[in-house]
């Protein structure tokens, strides 16, 4: 079966799986940080599932991308918002899809511009392989084998339902 015809798990299933892995590890000083845009959706769904009132922040990595000089500024930059003190905080960084690791590299740089976190852990809904940076997730919903020319993206319908979209890279 080729990756595109392989039945994908639903985001809801993967979020449950992530929540199960995370529950025993939740300690004090923990904050969730989602990466725009898919990571924020995952964070919100996870927070609901975990049933804990954890501080939440959002990051847009556009100002920290390493391919700025090749592709320019993203046309829709959203404000980053970290409404808690980063100093000494244990941060769970959350994204939808982990691929090259460059987004996570950028996100960690941003976190340090807010202060010195005590620890950063990484949770992703999907790890699709293809890493170019020495980055390894701590919590993974699913490992998927995707061909290099394929893209997987998290989508959200108007009613808030999450879904996956796989398409061919142009």
């Amino acid at each position: 079966m080729s990756p595109t015809t392989m039945p994908l798990p639903t985001p809801e299933q993967l979020i449950s799986r992530l929540a199960d892995q995370l529950s025993p590890t939740l300690g004090p000083d923990l904050a969730l940080v989602g990466i725009h845009t898919g990571g924020v959706w995952v964070m919100d769904a996870l927070a609901e599932r975990l049933g804990r009132d954890l501080p939440r922040g959002v990051l847009d990595i556009s100002f920290y991308r390493d391919d700025f000089s090749r592709i320019g500024l993203h046309p829709q930059v959203k404000p980053s918002d970290i409404p808690f003190d980063m100093e000494g905080r244990r941060v769970l960084l959350i994204d939808d899809v982990l691929y090259t690791g460059r987004t996570i590299r950028a996100a960690m740089n941003i976190l340090f511009d807010y202060g010195r976190p005590a620890a950063i852990r990484l949770a992703v809904l999907v790890d699709r392989g293809g890493r170019e940076m020495p980055i390894c997730p701590d919590f993974v919903g699913a490992h998927l084998e995707l061909a290099e020319h394929e893209n997987i993206a998290l989508t959200r319908a108007d009613d808030g339902t999450l879904g996956f979209k796989v398409n061919q890279r142009t």
Binding site: F63, I71, L73, Q76
Partner: protein, 316 residues
């Protein structure tokens, strides 16, 4: 003046020379990006690595401490290398032409020029002659345009009023000599503000004011009635030639913004001023320091807006 000089073939911003001719899509992109930079300015570390390795040259052929400083801060917060040049004090006094000066600076591997010049069209001229990888930002040319000031004013209005579509905005004072007023009018009109007024004595209005799509008033009471935003202009003393005005005191009496005159506007109207202010000439201290003034917010937002402009240009 050719405005498509500002855009790449696929419609992205290449130079920022004037708000005239820029589509709402681009103005909105700049304002949205600036909102993200406002959030960066509130962090402990106020810089981002976006323009690392790029060289930004602030070339000022006309003095302007504030504008030059905000451009310098903006470029530094983008991690660019910044060079400030006051040209009236250097080569031009030795007879070098504008384009020679620019060619020399280009040979020093500049990536961006921020240009202030007393002659209208100077930034356009430079934009037409620089190498393709260089972007030009107009930081004020003669009476023509001051697009980043216009943009930061739009940002300020959007911040405090939420948008433009239901607003009545009055621009007050020396419209004739003001490049700021022209940029404000273009910005407001493009972003969908339904009613832009200018309030000024006839002697301080440009002859083509009728073509700018604004309502003209010669009286503060009528002009300020029920407006949401009051944008004061600086009385351009140094540009004033001949007998356009009897005196600064006379100007204050009729056109200076006092608490009494501000009462004609809506109770929640905001008061803006591009600075530097002439207190007691175009604006009374009680208003300038009062609760409706957002003049210092304009300065703060000005840095974020200039960061947005530079980062968009450097990426295109």
């Amino acid at each position: 003046m050719k405005n498509n000089l500002q855009l790449t073939e696929d419609g992205r911003l290449k130079h920022l020379l004037s708000l005239d001719g820029l589509p709402a899509r681009i103005l909105t992109q700049i304002l949205d990006t600036a909102a993200s930079f406002v959030a960066v300015g509130e962090r402990e570390v106020k810089s981002v690595p976006l323009l690392r390795g790029k060289a930004v040259f602030n070339i000022f052929f006309e003095n302007s401490t504030r504008t030059r400083t905000t451009f310098e801060i903006a470029a530094k917060r983008l991690s660019a290398d910044v060079v400030n040049l006051n040209i009236n004090a250097s080569s031009q006094s030795k007879g070098e032409t504008l384009l020679d000066t620019v060619a020399n600076l280009s040979a020093m591997h500049a990536d961006m020029f921020v240009v202030r010049h007393a002659a209208a069209g100077a930034a356009h001229l430079i934009a037409r002659h620089v190498a393709p990888h260089i972007s030009v930002v107009n930081a004020g040319d003669g009476r023509c345009a001051h697009p980043t000031q216009g943009l930061l004013d739009m940002f300020t209005i959007r911040h405090f009023k939420g948008g433009f579509h239901n607003l009545r905005v009055a621009i007050v004072g020396d419209v004739l000599h003001s490049r700021v007023a022209r940029s404000q009018i273009h910005g407001l009109t493009t972003l969908g503000c339904p009613e832009v007024r200018v309030i000024a004595p006839k002697t301080l209005l440009p002859r083509d004011v009728g073509n700018l799509g604004v309502h003209v008033y010669h009286n503060m009471e009528q002009g300020l009635k029920d407006v949401d935003v009051v944008m004061m202009l600086r009385l351009q003393n140094e540009r004033m030639q001949g007998a356009r005005l009897p005196s600064a005191g006379e100007f204050y009496k009729h056109w200076g913004l006092t608490t009494e005159k501000l009462r004609y506007a809506k109770p929640d109207a905001i008061v803006m001023h591009p600075g530097p202010m002439n207190r007691g000439v175009e604006i009374d201290s009680e208003v300038a320091d009062g609760p409706q003034a957002v003049i210092l917010a304009q300065v703060t937002f000005g840095i974020a807006v200039r960061m947005a402009v530079m980062s968009i240009l450097a990426g295109n």
